[in-house]
């Protein structure tokens, strides 16, 4: 018991002694945990809003598409004729397990034109009376009427239309009567999602790869539109099952009759909207965690060096190496716990704006995002981050013999004979900078690694923008892709967080270098180096490991984007973007490193050297 009190007291005193460093550590781990909390919260979001929509719209358990060319689970089928439809309908409606249905509703493929944009839509013909299964819920305006079209909410958002606007479908003028959501189809632009892939409709070739929107019209209008397009009419049939959970089994059992989709697959397609965000946030959280670990490692390493003498005293007073390690770890673990708590709070506050699951679905997830298990995972990661950064310096400090700890007060620098002799021929800033790097190769490596992580993030984001630009260029005429718009927003937030962490990292490393080289710098100044030369040397010491790190980030960043987009298109950003990114990173490193260097150069060298004598 006494030992715990002792550990607590030593740890608390050490934290109070160095508040700035404790704050920096806290900041780094908090940023990482906040991103992680968001990423995990997103995991739980996907299916729930769909459930709300399903409940609000009396969503179907199985949706059947009849009459058009379809892909069943056993391969492409025959184009059906209108005469076959009633048979198929009867078969389906009377299948075992089916307790209710609505439809069949005729569906026409049409071209919607508004404000110079042309988009393909499925126009589903409906009755004015509400259906028993799948009655789309209005979020604005009123239901279908002759000459009035109701547009799916996400689609309307992408088009930028509201109630009362005028659109043309296949050349006929319609008024937007209302905006609605449904659980029978995934929201725009995933409408063409099928478990087996492929899209149902026969479209003009130039639009066949573009997203298709969903709209509802009165039955008669649907038939008219189909006639105008001279394309075969297909039908939607919505089924309710006695056991909704068995929808997928039903689909595979009754395959061959029509093209069937179970509600779970529609839900999964919904989740694509949110899933893309997750594809962004998960690697983002990983990168943030890596940067946080790097920051912690540098901070912990720096504090270990200062503490080595204190450790020597502790050990001389009888503390075992184990106790010493525990004290050092305890401090950082406490900070990590605090950071986890703050990160969770930040994540909870930020979650609603991120996890708005796309406008196609009713409701927002709200509070349930942060379950106990999520909180537990976040705390575990935070503690792991702190431990990962601290464990190596702590063990090294604990193993240092007491005598050498008291005598030296710091880790003996390494001698890099090759670098020293190479540096002799270089101008003064590089001479000193290279020797500074040679003294602490471990820290240089850490520096390079954290710059590599930052560069990876930035290159991945550049790759994203390049790919998105190309893809949007292919989407019809100015129509935004809500998935990518949302992704973009998340990317921006993530970029800010990652860049902030990277800045923190560089400043922390530069500051640690300045502290570590206080004596060397003072001595160099006493021997005749001027303060600008010293400042340039410290900058050089940061830039030398930063360059390979930044260059390494290019292939890693592109690779990360390729992995995150799960085999989707990856476009390599143009060379000058990459060059600008690398140079920008190096310039930022130089700028950030010069600030602590300049502050450190203010003290007269005599003071520093005399303090060393004491």
């Amino acid at each position: 018991m006494g030992k715990i009190v002792l550990i607590w007291r030593l740890a608390a005193r050490d934290l109070r002694h160095r508040p700035a460093q404790a704050a920096l550590l806290l900041l780094a781990v908090t940023a990482a945990t906040a991103v992680l909390a968001l990423g995990l919260a997103l995991h739980g979001v996907t299916s729930q809003p769909y459930q709300q929509t399903r409940a609000a719209t009396r969503g179907p358990d199985v949706v059947a598409q009849l009459g058009g060319p379809f892909q069943g689970p056993h391969g492409p089928g025959q184009p059906g004729s209108a005469s076959q439809v009633p048979t198929e309908v009867r078969t389906l409606v009377h299948s075992s397990g089916v307790t209710g249905h609505s439809g069949p509703y005729p569906v026409a493929s049409a071209l919607l034109r508004v404000r110079g944009m042309t988009v393909a839509v499925e126009a589903e013909g409906r009755d004015q009376a509400p259906a028993s299964v799948d009655q789309p819920k209005l979020t604005a305006g009123s239901w279908v009427r002759p000459g009035g079209v109701v547009i799916e909410r996400t689609f309307a958002g992408a088009l930028g239309v509201g109630v009362g606007d005028r659109v043309t479908l296949n050349g006929r003028l319609f008024t937007v009567a209302g905006i609605a959501v449904t659980a029978a189809s995934p929201p725009f632009p995933n409408l063409c999602y099928q478990p087996g892939g492929g899209c149902v409709f026969d479209l003009p070739a130039k639009l066949s790869h573009d997203p298709i929107g969903l709209a509802w019209v009165i039955r008669a209008d649907a038939r008219t539109l189909a006639a105008a397009a001279a394309a075969p009419v297909s039908y939607f049939l919505n089924l309710r099952l006695s056991h909704p959970a068995a929808a997928r089994a039903f689909v595979s059992h009754v395959s061959g009759v029509a093209d069937l989709t179970a509600w779970q697959d529609i839900a999964a397609a919904d989740g694509l909207l949110v899933l893309d965000e997750q594809q962004v946030l998960s690697p983002g959280a990983l990168l943030a965690a890596l940067l946080a670990v790097a920051s912690v490692a540098v901070l912990a390493g720096g504090r270990m060096a200062e503490n080595t003498r204190r450790i020597g005293l502790l050990k001389a007073a009888g503390a075992t190496p184990g106790l010493v390690t525990v004290v050092l770890l305890a401090e950082n673990v406490v900070l990590a716990l605090a950071a986890a708590a703050i990160g969770l709070v930040v994540g909870r506050l930020a979650a609603p704006s991120i996890t708005n699951p796309g406008v196609g679905l009713v409701g927002a997830p709200g509070a349930p995002a942060l379950t106990l298990s999520i909180a537990g995972e976040v705390v575990a990661v935070a503690v792991a981050t702190a431990l990962a950064g601290t464990v190596v310096p702590a063990i090294r400090a604990a193993r240092t013999s007491t005598v050498s700890a008291l005598a030296d007060g710091a880790r003996r620098p390494r001698r890099g004979a090759v670098l020293i002799s190479v540096s002799r021929r270089l101008p003064v800033p590089l001479l000193l900078g290279l020797r500074l790097v040679a003294r602490r190769p471990g820290r240089a490596l850490l520096s390079a690694a954290s710059i590599a992580v930052t560069a990876t993030a930035i290159v991945a984001i550049l790759a994203f923008h390049t790919t998105v630009n190309l893809r949007i260029a292919r989407v019809a005429h100015g129509l935004g892709d809500p998935v990518f718009t949302r992704d973009e927003q998340i990317m921006q937030v993530l970029t800010v967080v990652l860049v902030a962490l990277a800045v923190l990292n560089v400043v922390v490393t530069a500051w640690a270098t300045v502290q570590d080289t206080r004596h060397t710098s003072a001595l160099a100044r006493a021997l005749g180096a001027s303060p600008p030369q010293i400042g340039a040397a410290i900058s050089a010491a940061q830039l030398i490991p930063a360059l390979p790190g930044a260059l390494l980030g290019i292939p890693l960043g592109i690779g990360l984007f390729a992995v995150a987009s799960r085999g989707g298109i990856v476009t390599i950003p143009p060379a000058w973007w990459l060059a600008a990114a690398v140079l920008g990173i190096l310039a930022a490193v130089d700028l950030l490193a010069s600030v602590p260097a300049r502050i450190g150069a203010r003290r007269p060298p005599g003071e520093i050297l005399q303090a060393e004598n004491a």
Binding site: R412, R414, L431
Partner: protein, 248 residues
């Protein structure tokens, strides 16, 4: 400048350095004036805490005074910016510290050549000069040793070699034998004596009377101010034999 000034390498007038304020005000150096001529060896002696190290730092431009002036070879240190001050330190002052302050990861010769490299001399010329100086201090055979492999006296001799590499106008030594045992002290003693004979200008701060005895002039310091001055050259008085117990 008149002729007298040329002979005076180092001049100080009314030097003051104070730390803290109010109740905690410490006057480390309190109105010190001195002249050092070319080729002179001046020793400043006093008890610990009397401010002699601070004085030396002020003379060497390693610290800025709170009052008074220092002239080195006619240049007023107070008027120089940091850059010019470093240049002056580089070219005209050699500093020897109590704690040696050698770089642990550099060998003896690499330590000695460092000021020359910082001054922009070619690596070859710097290395040549460093080897020459290590021979001068009698450590030519230890050129490739790291400081950890050298004794205290040897380390200080390396430091002295380093202080001489740019052929300075004045060598400032701050308690050069403070961290050395008596045998190492004698090593350093011999070296200072030979520097004196060779015509270097030395200002040594010490509380060791043996080192002080190598000087031409000995200044006593107490509580930040000079209290007396003794001229040590000029004839022996007394019979050494009598000191040993031999009756005449």
């Amino acid at each position: 400048m008149n002729e007298n000034a040329d002979a005076r390498v180092l001049r100080a007038r009314g030097l003051r350095k104070a730390y803290g304020k109010g109740e905690g005000l410490v006057r480390a150096v309190d109105g010190v004036s001195m002249d050092v001529g070319r080729g002179e060896t001046v020793a400043v002696m006093g008890p610990s805490g009397c401010g002699k190290s601070t004085l030396l730092h002020l003379l060497g431009g390693l610290d800025r005074p709170t009052g008074g002036d220092v002239w080195l070879a006619g240049q007023d240190l107070g008027r120089l910016g940091e850059r010019n001050l470093s240049r002056l330190r580089r070219d005209a002052i050699g500093f020897v510290f109590q704690a040696f302050h050698l770089m642990d990861e550099l060998t003896a010769v690499e330590n000695v050549e460092l000021p020359a490299l910082l001054a922009g001399r070619s690596p070859r010329a710097a290395r040549r000069r460093a080897v020459e100086l290590l021979e001068r201090v009698g450590l030519a055979d230890r050129a490739g040793f790291l400081p950890a492999a050298l004794s205290g006296g040897q380390r200080q001799r390396v430091a002295i070699a380093r202080a001489l590499v740019s052929d300075p106008l004045v060598v400032l030594a701050d308690e050069p034998t403070g961290n050395l045992d008596s045998e190492a002290t004698v090593e350093v003693l011999r070296l200072f004596e030979s520097l004196h004979v060779a015509g270097h200008t030395l200002v040594i701060v010490t509380h060791d009377s043996r080192i002080a005895a190598t000087a031409d002039r000995l200044i006593g310091m107490r509580d930040g101010a000079f209290v007396d001055e003794t001229r040590l050259t000029g004839g022996t008085t007394g019979n050494l034999g009598a000191l040993a117990g031999l009756e005449g």
